[in-house]
């Protein structure tokens, strides 16, 4: 019964917090460059406004274009509900597998890229082709990180990973450090953050994610935007859950640890959001053709972490 309750709370929590996290990142970024910036609640107001508006469709838009926002939103929302945030005792815990998570994210990416191509504009085409290029490097990098973690924990289940690292002092490991950096690089690229893509611009030749969703409007755009916010929350939760799960309520503790787990999770989320804003303010966007090196570096780090762990195990 507790796990059902926890799962419901988790589903509501990820959707409710996601716009707030994006708002926090925007607010801190604005403050760092000396602007006042919109309040924390601005993303919620934006979404409410977009939801009230009618969607405008291009004449040659097919069913694919119309159904993509719903596909992407549900896929990412479900994926975010799988990652343990404040407790590991979730109803869907047995399904929360790292490889399944990568598949969900891949499906969302696939549909977004198809929608970008479907409408037939040149911007959409550029965005989709770049997204596909980044995807071919980012997904293997995530997989190497997963292999590293699962070599250590002997499981790909997120619940097991979080409990193993939180309870049985693994200690600080070089391979975990490398895997963490690889995952951060991938998270930056996947969420269209600054060294790779600029989340704050709509009309720039180098944009990737915004180029694919340029044709969306009204409630479709609202779904796409909230999906992007949920994805940011998902990656941050994933990093927290795998590398810093301390304070999470384990299955044995049950409902008693929920309050504390929730507080710790919120604190970690705020810390992550502020760190992201500081990082984005202090770095310049890179050329598109350097992104393959950036992501290639993540892949290499993941591989290195795996080799390191594997060989030092075997010998």
């Amino acid at each position: 019964m507790t796990d059902v309750l926890a799962q419901m709370m988790q589903i509501a929590l990820v959707l409710g917090l996601a716009p707030g996290l994006t708002g926090l990142v925007r607010l801190v970024k604005a403050r760092l460059v000396g602007r006042r910036g919109p309040g924390l609640l601005q993303p919620y107001r934006d979404l409410a406004r977009l939801l009230r508006k009618d969607a405008v469709l291009a004449d040659n838009a097919s069913w694919l274009f119309r159904s993509t926002p719903y596909m992407v939103f549900t896929t990412l929302w479900f994926a975010a509900a799988l990652v343990p945030t404040f407790t590991t005792g979730l109803l869907l815990g047995p399904a929360a597998d790292l490889i399944a998570l990568v598949a969900f994210l891949g499906a969302a990416r696939f549909f977004t890229a198809l929608a970008g191509l479907d409408i037939g504009t040149s911007f959409g085409g550029i965005g989709s082709s770049r997204e596909a290029m980044f995807g071919t490097l980012a997904e293997p990098a995530v997989l190497t990180v997963i292999f590293t973690v699962s070599l250590l924990v002997h499981s790909t289940s997120l619940v097991d990973v979080a409990e193993f690292i939180a309870v049985s002092r693994v200690g600080i490991r070089v391979s975990l450090l490398m895997a963490l950096i690889a995952l951060i690089i991938v998270a930056l690229a996947e969420n269209a953050r600054i060294p790779v893509d600029n989340p704050a611009t709509h009309l720039e030749l180098t944009m990737v994610h915004e180029a694919m969703v340029l044709e969306y409007s009204g409630r479709h755009l609202a779904l796409i935007e909230v999906a992007a916010m949920v994805k940011l929350l998902l990656y941050l939760s994933l990093i927290i859950c795998v590398f810093l799960p301390f304070g999470i309520a384990t299955r044995e503790v049950g409902a008693a640890g929920f309050g504390f787990g929730l507080l710790v999770y919120l604190a970690k989320l705020i810390g992550g959001g502020v760190a992201l804003a500081v990082f984005e303010t202090s770095i310049a966007k890179m050329r598109v053709f350097r992104v393959s090196e950036f992501l290639g570096g993540a892949l290499m780090l993941g591989l290195l972490a795996m080799i390191y762990l594997y060989i030092s195990r075997a010998l």
Partner: protein, 220 residues
């Protein structure tokens, strides 16, 4: 030695290796120098940590040399040399960034496979530290091979030397660590002077400083 102390020592070693990879990744001279300064800083921290956990005060000297000389003085001098001579600030690579990172990863695998079997008798800290240090040495060599600029060659050499110091401080009871780091520092200084003189010669066709006076218009 407790497991936390072990982990922290290990983490410093890993960070030095990671910064070696960052050196290979950089495309600008100032980026290379700043990354090197950071590596020297982490090396100093690693040496100081080893001094603390092994209660070996002479290692603090090594840490101090790494901190003052390599993290502050040499990067400053290299900055000056680049500014004064107007050296081209992008890096000319003999092997692209991607392939050199791949080569670096395989060198790390090689050094782990080489070090771990031959050091079965030693403790875990020594073994893995040695593997990481050997990887840093090999990456420094790789940097010297694949980057054409004289300044990056010096930085490659110094990061190789960082690997050697890392190995020396990681092994318990290694004699002459301090002397070794002093000797290496002197050698690096000579190499930097070498670049300096090389550039003077290139510009004035001689190493005779009198020509500088003609150049400044002080000689009748």
């Amino acid at each position: 030695m407790t497991s936390l102390e072990y982990d922290i020592a290990h983490l410093f070693d890993g960070t030095v290796l990671l910064l070696s990879f960052m050196l290979l990744y950089q495309r600008r001279l100032f980026g290379v120098i700043n990354t090197f300064a950071m590596q020297a800083l982490v090396l100093a921290a690693a040496a100081a940590w080893q001094a603390h956990i092994h209660a070996a005060p002479h290692l603090y000297v090594t840490a101090g040399i790494a901190l003052v000389f390599k993290a502050i003085v040499i990067p400053y001098v290299l900055h000056r040399v680049i500014r004064t001579f107007g050296i081209h600030r992008t890096i000319d690579t003999a092997l692209g960034v991607g392939p050199s990172l791949v080569a670096g990863a395989s060198l790390v695998a090689l050094s782990i496979m080489l070090v771990l079997p031959v050091t079965f008798a030693s403790g875990a800290l020594t073994r893995e530290s040695l593997a990481l240090a050997l990887s840093t040495v090999l990456l420094g060599l790789l940097m010297m091979i694949t980057r054409r600029n004289a300044v990056t060659q010096v930085v490659g050499f110094m990061s190789l030397e960082n690997g050697l110091i890392l190995a020396a401080v990681g092994v318990e009871g290694m004699p002459l660590v301090v002397e070794m780091s002093v000797a290496f520092s002197v050698m690096v200084a000579f190499i930097i002077f070498g670049i300096f003189f090389f550039h003077i010669r290139e510009r004035f066709d001689t190493l005779d400083v009198q020509y500088l006076e003609t150049f400044r218009g002080e000689r009748r």
